[in-house]
């Protein structure tokens, strides 16, 4: 059964249309806590121009955002704030962990720096580098857009499935000499 389509008409699925809309208007929440934040600002500024990828509207209110970019190290005093801001964002939402510190703690293997935010909040994209160049951050946003395009449906049911809730990384704590690791105590 063939249907004659006039020119400039495209057939698609509504699901894909919804994802297409979502991915091309990401509103980032800049959670910039350290030096990576400077590169994040450079990414949003005119030279690198994040507007080309539809993600230039930085909003400082979590209720208006759907992409959290954690740029910089997060200390133990800041982590409850990070979690609260993440919870205040509406679904669908995504998280980019920008830089070595946000992803792993980086060189700051000390008592107060959280060793990777993915231990405590879900993360979709990791950007390596110290700091990552704006090109790298833009690449991660492009990759995230591909991911959004692949997974979305118009009802948004996929944001509440067991797969999405799985932890992305095993919560393994390296043993500290002479110390009982926290996770083995509980």
């Amino acid at each position: 059964m063939a249907i004659e389509l006039p020119e400039n008409v495209v057939v698609s699925k509504l699901d894909e249309l919804a994802s297409w809309c979502r991915k091309n208007s990401l509103w980032p929440m800049p959670f910039a806590t350290a030096c990576c934040g400077i590169e994040l600002m450079a990414t949003g500024a005119s030279r690198h121009d994040l507007a080309r990828f539809g993600a230039e509207v930085f909003r400082f209110s979590p209720r208006q955002c759907d992409l959290m970019i954690v740029a910089g190290r997060v200390v133990m005093k800041m982590l409850p704030v990070l979690q609260r801001i993440w919870q205040q964002m509406h679904e669908p939402k995504w998280c980019i962990s920008m830089g070595a510190c946000a992803s792993t703690g980086g060189v700051f293997d000390t008592y107060c720096v959280v060793q990777g935010i993915d231990r405590f909040i879900p993360v979709d994209m990791y950007v390596p580098g110290c700091p990552p160049r704006p090109e790298q951050l833009i690449q991660s946003i492009i990759d995230l857009q591909d991911k959004i395009q692949r997974e979305g449906t118009i009802t948004g049911d996929e944001f509440n499935t067991p797969q999405r809730q799985q932890r992305k990384r095993a919560l393994l704590e390296l043993p500290i000499l002479g110390q009982t690791p926290y996770f083995s105590k509980t």
Partner: protein, 166 residues
Amino acid sequence: MPTRTEVLETLQDEFTGVTASEFRGQTRVVVKAADLFAVLESLKNDFAFDLLVDITCVDYLQYRDATDRFGLVYLLANTQTAERITVRVMLNEPELTVASAAPLWEGANWLEREVFDMFGIRFDGHPDLRRILLPEEFTAHPLRKDYPLQGRGERHNFSVITRGEA
């Protein structure tokens, strides 16, 4: 600029056990903990050391040739003559309490809170001795040398938020 000798002589006359030394134009006096407040008061009122530059502390645990555990350091300056002096008190556990300098210099308030936060030294007479940098529920004093660099699990002590809960 090093401190004038009459300042040091007066201190040595008035208080027992005051030792003074000079290194590359910087004067240092070591005083006893009991005399600390009187020494600071005399430096401020009689010799016009009107600026409290910093209060900090050094932990000499396992330091070579060290005999005392903590060295509490007061850096003072005279803004008229540009003289500077370092006042040092050696402290040992369990007597880690000294008199607060907050009645002399308002700026001592937060500096002493920081020393308390990081080293656990208590300041008698401080108006509001709470932690200044670390969260209230933190129990350790992390700049002590016997505190492990990677902490005692404080950095992992949070609930995990998954996709479903958010």
